[in-house]
């Protein structure tokens, strides 16, 4: 309980290359993304990644189903919303750490495996950076130059997502969940933003803001993720026993390179969700008069003095809004409620959250080692002082992009990490281990171990299934609808007993495909 729950982070990476085709045209981002995914699978070897020719099992995907209880007509859907149709030219791989690495639209996307704590979410998110980097190194050996950026905007109107997923009980009314969550999501960039140079969707005004995504959010609640992006996304695709679970799909967040920022982003949100679940009357009532407008007001003011108006006429800063939620969480912990026994994960998140909020009130610059937008702003402000560059200077826009470069030789955030200027929550070895080893306490362990142990016979996988060949060459689907089933503790004995897929399948309940 507490801040612990099943969660995961998906990141679409920015991609560039100078590679050209036979006619001298730059390769499309779709092709480049395919190169990246294939290169990872090729470089990592069969025990670390499913070959990209194998598939994703789409049997359970319902991207047009809405949490409000209806399904969008396919004819009305924008083609970019149709994520459940297999495109044979699109590369897809499932990794031995339980992650999915594939081409989503025109970006390589790393979807982390399901984990059960904010700290593990950080570790597997960082592992995704190493997956991207490994792919780039394989491509470099083939003489193909590609760069990957863990950011969310190009400054010219395009935005691509970092989505967080949280398992919540189906029994929580979605309308209340959305209502109680919106003010928190509006203010969260104060502690979770990656920072951005430029204001407006095409950076039409010079300046610096807290969030990469703020200017691309255009609705309060909705199904879309690629256009008219909402603060609360209603996609109802639980990838889990549907009458028990809901997967809250959060699309407002930034890709983050700073460990503590990632921890605060998912940890604080998980705590607020727990509050919504266990203390519905204890969730602060800070309903905002205009949430979409408020997202921009908060993001556009690095001094943190801008206020947003509540429905009942109060004016609160982003820090005020977050503090209201934090105080409510702290009260819930103090209440001794069963769901709030403070384990180490909860203590870590709440202590950090409190420290950072207090420091932000004193002087945001104090958080330069923890909060990514502050780290980026501090570096850029010092550069401005030395160079005289104004916020419209392309050198600052260049540094903003380069901040997120996955190559440690060029990436500025990585330079700060290496110099000890961005606090790290875990040794590099722990991150490296997460590239190949699945989390032990979710079904990602089964998925990842299937890739590692039975890779030759795995034909497809999804979040809740693995499809394998039996000895007669028939495809069999093993379903794992419960995210915390098929953990190491529960099934390592079973997998140890079966070195061959065929005998494993005879013991496991599986269905014909």
């Amino acid at each position: 309980m507490s801040v612990r729950r099943v969660m995961g982070i998906e990141t679409e990476l920015g991609i560039t290359s100078t590679q050209v085709d036979a006619r001298g045209e730059l390769l499309t981002p779709m092709l480049l993304s395919g190169q990246v995914v294939r290169a990872y699978a090729a470089g990592a070897g069969p025990r670390a990644a499913m070959p990209t020719g194998s598939g994703w099992d789409y049997a359970d995907e319902t991207p047009l189903r809405d949490a409000r209880g209806y399904e969008m007509a396919r004819a009305l859907a924008d083609v970019s919303q149709l994520t459940d149709v297999e495109d044979p030219t699109v590369a897809n791989s499932v990794l031995s750490n339980g992650a999915r690495f594939y081409v989503d639209h025109a970006h390589p996307e790393y979807s982390s495996p399901e984990v059960t704590s904010p700290r593990e979410a950080v570790r597997y998110d960082r592992a995704g950076e190493l997956v991207g980097l490994a792919a780039l190194r394989t491509l470099a050996q083939e003489g193909r130059e590609v760069r990957l950026y863990k950011n969310n905007v190009d400054g010219k109107g395009a935005s691509y997502g970092t989505h967080e997923n949280y398992l919540v009980p189906r029994s929580i009314p979605f309308e209340r969940l959305a209502r109680q969550l919106i003010p928190f999501l509006v203010a969260r960039p104060v502690i979770a933003g990656a920072g951005r140079v430029g204001l407006g969707q095409v950076s039409e005004r010079p300046g610096f803001q807290l969030s990469q995504r703020a200017d691309y959010l255009e609705a309060e609640v909705g199904l879309e993720t690629t256009l008219r992006r909402p603060i609360v996304n209603t996609r109802d695709e639980p990838h889990a026993t549907p009458h028990v679970h809901r997967r809250l799909h959060v699309i407002v967040g930034d890709a983050t390179m700073a460990d503590v920022t990632t921890l605060l982003a998912v940890g604080s949100l998980s705590a607020v969700l727990r509050l919504v679940e266990t203390h519905p009357d204890g969730v602060p009532d800070v309903a905002l008069a205009d949430p979409v407008q408020a997202v921009r007001q908060v993001s556009h003011d690095p001094t943190l003095r801008a206020t947003v108006e509540t429905v009942d006429g109060r004016r609160l800063t982003g820090v005020d809004v977050l503090e209201t939620y934090l105080e409510a969480v702290e009260r819930a912990v103090a209440s001794g409620h069963d769901a709030w026994r403070p384990d180490d994960d909860t203590t870590e998140v709440l202590t950090r959250w409190r420290q950072v909020l207090d420091a932000l009130r004193r002087d945001p610059a104090e958080c330069a080692g923890q909060v990514e937008w502050v780290a980026k702003l501090s570096l850029l402000e010092r550069y401005r002082e030395r160079s005289g560059a104004g916020w419209g200077d392309p050198r600052l826009a260049a540094m903003d992009i380069q901040w997120h470069d996955l190559d440690p030789q060029r990436g500025l955030a990585q330079k700060l990490r290496a110099a000890g200027r961005l606090e790290r929550l875990m040794p590099e070895g722990a991150v490296a281990a997460a590239v190949t080893e699945p989390p032990e306490d979710t079904r990602a362990w089964f998925r990842g171990e299937c890739v590692r142990r039975y890779g030759d016979d795995v034909r497809a996988a999804s979040w809740d299934s693995v499809v394998m060949l039996d000895e007669r060459g028939r495809l069999r689907r093993v379903q794992v609808p419960e995210p915390t089933a098929a953990t190491r503790e529960r099934i390592s004995g079973l997998l140890e007993r079966h070195t061959r897929t065929a005998t494993l399948l005879t013991e496991l309940a599986s269905e014909d495909v």
């Binding site: 679409e12 920015g14 991609i15 560039t16 981002p29 970019s80 989503d104 639209h105 025109a106 970006h107 950026y149 905007v153 190009d154 400054g155 010219k156 109107g157 395009a158 935005s159 691509y160 997502g161 989505h163 993720t225 690629t226 699309i251 420290q355 420091a359 004193r362 002087d363 610059a365 104090e366 330069a368 080692g369 923890q370 501090s378 570096l379 010092r382 550069y383 030395r386 200077d393 392309p394 050198r395 826009a397 260049a398 540094m399 992009i401 380069q402 030789q409 060029r410 330079k415 700060l416 990490r417 290496a418 110099a419 000890g420 200027r421 961005l422 606090e423 790290r424 929550l425 040794p427």
Partner: protein, 68 residues
């Protein structure tokens, strides 16, 4: 790459704080400003070698397709 070699050798010369240790939580705010600037200056000196030399072209060329 030259940039990284230069970076590593300078690190040894300066005997800067160990990069593996977690940064302590924010300490007392006073007298930090100047130290911060100094640390950022040495970092900016290091970064200078790897910054894109033609910022205008680099920014212009960073064009992405919209995603989710």
């Amino acid at each position: 790459m030259a940039g990284s070699q230069q970076y590593r050798s300078r690190r040894r010369d300066d005997d800067a704080p160990e990069p593996e240790a977690p940064t302590p939580p924010p300490a007392a705010p006073q007298a930090q400003g100047a130290e911060r600037d100094e640390a950022l200056d040495s970092l900016l000196d290091e970064i200078d070698g790897v910054l894109e030399t033609n910022a205008t072209d680099f920014v212009h060329g960073f064009v992405q397709k919209g995603g989710q």
